[in-house]
Each structure stands twice: as structure tokens, then as C-alpha cells.
């Protein structure tokens, strides 16, 4: 049976990771805090069913589910907001390395570009680049297959590079 002490040791230590994912998904502090709070309460509630393994991955999966269930309108648009096959071509172009070098050195521009991506791209990038999750970990957090994680990450990066170098980038 879960105790608060165990929960503190195993779960609460991953609060930064939880908040980072929620913040990139929600794109504002207030919503991200609500998501993490709700997720933590759910995690506590389900903690009895947690059978060891990586508590961080487990918590991040709950954070992600909580975000999509609290923001149901977002969840409903996931499948409609983009079509991987459709975007494949557009994202294939090679970004201009100089423009990329210029803009990617500016964290503000990178953040803005990242926030313009659809949530399914933001989440894989946040998990890979900020939390340094492996493909396998990302797969278990998102419920995607490893192959899908790899291709989504590839498209997410291409889209990000395009956002950073494209004309639509606003200062």
C-alpha cells in the first residue's frame, strides 16, 4: 500500500520533469501547474498499482494523459490537426544552415518556434531533448510504437528547423 513517504521518494522527485512536459504541452504556467497537480493526485491514487520500474516514465505518462483529458478539445483535434503523410513532403526540404545557425542560437526564437508546433511534435521533442528519454521510454509514455516515435521525432525536427528558418518566423 502506498505511503506518502514512498510517494515522495519515488514520484515527487520527478516534479521538474512532470512540469516541463506539462508546460510544453499547455504552453502557459497556470494550465501546466493545474495539469501537474491533477496528475500528481492521480499518480498518488494509482500508486498502489505501480509495480516498480521507472517512476519518471510512469509519472510522465500520467501527466500526458491528464493534459489531454483536461484539454479534451486538444485531444479531439490530435488526429485532425495534422496528417503525417501530408506533411512529409513539405518537411523534406533542407533548411538553410546559416539562417538556422543564426536563429537557433537565440533561445527565445527557439522557444517561439517550438510553441508553434502541434502538440504531438512538442511532446516528443520535450521528452527527447529536455528529459533525454530514449525512444523506448517515449514510446511507453505516449503509447506510440517505437518506429512511430522515430519518424515523429524526425518530422518534428524538420518542422522545427523549417519554423526557425522559414519566412513565417516573427521576431
Amino acid at each position: 500500500m502506498a505511503t506518502r513517504a514512498q510517494f515522495e521518494t519515488n514520484v515527487m522527485q520527478h516534479l521538474d520533469a512532470a512540469f516541463n512536459l506539462a508546460r510544453w504541452l499547455a504552453r502557459n504556467d497556470a494550465d501546466a501547474q493545474d495539469v501537474v497537480q491533477e496528475a500528481a493526485l492521480r499518480a498518488f491514487r494509482y500508486y498502489g498499482g505501480f509495480r516498480g520500474g521507472d517512476a519518471r516514465v510512469w509519472l510522465l505518462a500520467i501527466v500526458r494523459n491528464t493534459f489531454y483529458s483536461l484539454h479534451a478539445s486538444n485531444a479531439a483535434t490530435i488526429t485532425e490537426s495534422y496528417d503525417e503523410a501530408l506533411h512529409e513532403r513539405a518537411d523534406e526540404r533542407t533548411p538553410d544552415p546559416e539562417a538556422l545557425a543564426l536563429r537557433s542560437s537565440d533561445a527565445k526564437q527557439v522557444r517561439a518556434a517550438l510553441e508553434r508546433l502541434p502538440s504531438e511534435y512538442r511532446e516528443v521533442l520535450a521528452l527527447r531533448e529536455f528529459e533525454e528519454c530514449s525512444y523506448k521510454e517515449i514510446a511507453s509514455i505516449t503509447g506510440l510504437k517505437i518506429g512511430t516515435v522515430m519518424s515523429r521525432l524526425a518530422r518534428a525536427r524538420e518542422r522545427l528547423a523549417a519554423e526557425l528558418t522559414g519566412a513565417e518566423v516573427t521576431p
Partner: protein, 258 residues
């Protein structure tokens, strides 16, 4: 390895997800192909531009305190006992708790096979905790075409969602719940001031059953099974029979109106 193959694996190479043999092949290709190398450098640069501490959001210090203040004191098993002692226990919460007790009681009857005591305990505490986290409704919508797709992908079955507004039962929303070991869909309807919970889950081969009503602590519970699904409606409204009739009638009319 040619350029097409190399490019397909470039991200996995960057992320150190390839086995040694594949990594060596890519490295060899990159050293020989300036174009792929340039592409790889670009990806590397992009990754470096993301991996800066400024872009990772750290949890605000107040957040941990806020969460700790909301966590129940200890093991979930003790929560339900404490619940009753809370002076601020709202009428709605108490009502929902009774609904949970009614459901748990019903489940105990339905699943008389094994460990019913444990099942009752689990169903009750699960429900109470879901309410603690203000989690009565996951998807709030009066539109069946919003509620139904929401469940898809969250459950391995597709629940029936019917708009009964014309019959005086307003659809409020839905949520995921767990009863026993089953993940179930819960639809929430409202009749005047009364809430109705309609739980649905697969019948797993059990044969159809006509609706049967039970009462517990002033709550009505109606269970029936048809079309490969089982249903359990719970409410304090005396109109629960009418609700079940209307729901079944709507379900019988075209299975998936769009």
C-alpha cells in the same frame, strides 16, 4: 549504405539508438558523403540549440507545496474513513460516495466469483479518490459526437453514447473509470438536479439480460446486458427506469447516428 538509407537512420544515429554495426555504417557513409554530413551537422546544431537549460521549464517552488497540501495523508485505504470526518464534505460528494457504494454493492452481486470484499473496497476507494481529484468528468460536452470519439483510443471498446436531451436527460459528459479490474466508460447525465451515472463495459460473452433494478441507501441501480455490452445506471432519481428505457430505445435506433 546509400544516402536514402542513411537519411532514414540519421535521427536514430543522432539519438544514439542504433546498434554498433548500424552506427558504424552510418559513420562510414557520413565520412564519405558531404551532403549527408551537412544534414547531420544541421540536426546536431538543432539538438544543441534545444538542449540549453533556459528552455527546460523547472517546476515553480510553490507547486510542490500545493500538491503536498492536496495529497491525502497516507495510504488510500484510510481515505474513505477520513472522508466521513471532513466537515467540509459536500452534499454532492456524499451523494457520489453513496452512488459508489451502490455500484460496489451491485458489482459484488454481479461478480460473486471471487474476492468480492476486496472488489467493494477497491471500487469505493477508487471512486472516492476520483472525486477528491475533482475528476467526475473528463470530457465535458452535451454533444454525443464529442463524447464518443473522446473514448476511442482510451478504451479497447467503443461505448454507446446517446443524446437524450429531448427526453429530459441532459448529457453532461463522460470519464474513464475502473470497476473491479475492468476499465469502464462512465457517462454522466442530468435530470433536473439529479445526476445519473451510466457505466458501460464489454459483456465478454455473457448472454443478454433484461434490466433489473435494485435499491441501496435510497439510490437506484439498474443493470442490463445487450449487444455485447453491460450497462449499470445509478442515480437517486425516481426516473431512472424512464432513462434506461429511453437510452435503450435510442441505442436500438441506428447504432451509430452521425
Amino acid at each position: 549504405m546509400n544516402c536514402t538509407e542513411a537519411r532514414a537512420l540519421l535521427h536514430a544515429y543522432l539519438d544514439d539508438e542504433l546498434d554498433a554495426a548500424r552506427s558504424a555504417e552510418i559513420a562510414q557513409h557520413l565520412s564519405a558523403c558531404a551532403e549527408c554530413m551537412a544534414r547531420y551537422r544541421t540536426l546536431e546544431k538543432l539538438q544543441q540549440s534545444l538542449r540549453v537549460p533556459r528552455l527546460r521549464h523547472a517546476a515553480p517552488p510553490a507547486l510542490a507545496a500545493r500538491i503536498r497540501a492536496h495529497l491525502p495523508d497516507d495510504a488510500p485505504a484510510r481515505i474513505q474513513r477520513r472522508m466521513w470526518q471532513w466537515p467540509a464534505l459536500s452534499a454532492a460528494l456524499a451523494a457520489s460516495l453513496l452512488i459508489a457504494v451502490a455500484i460496489a454493492g451491485w458489482q459484488a452481486v454481479q461478480l460473486r466469483a471471487h474476492g468480492t470484499d476486496a472488489l467493494v473496497t477497491e471500487a469505493v476507494s477508487d471512486h472516492v479518490r476520483s472525486l477528491l481529484a475533482s475528476h467526475l468528468i473528463d470530457v465535458r460536452s452535451s454533444d454525443q459526437h464529442t463524447v464518443k470519439p473522446w473514448f476511442d483510443g482510451r478504451l479497447d471498446f467503443s461505448p454507446q453514447v446517446k443524446d437524450l436531451g429531448a427526453q429530459g436527460f441532459e448529457l453532461i459528459g463522460g470519464r474513464l473509470d475502473v470497476l473491479g479490474d475492468e476499465r469502464v466508460a462512465a457517462l454522466v447525465y442530468k435530470r433536473h438536479l439529479h445526476m445519473i451515472n451510466l457505466f458501460q463495459w464489454p459483456a465478454n460473452g455473457a448472454s443478454s439480460e433484461e434490466p433489473k433494478e435494485q435499491s441501496r441507501n435510497g439510490y437506484h441501480a439498474i443493470f442490463w446486458r445487450e449487444g455485447g455490452m453491460q450497462f449499470l445506471a445509478v442515480s437517486d432519481t425516481a426516473d431512472l427506469n424512464a432513462f434506461v428505457q429511453d437510452f435503450r430505445a435510442a441505442a436500438a435506433l441506428g447504432s451509430e447516428p452521425r
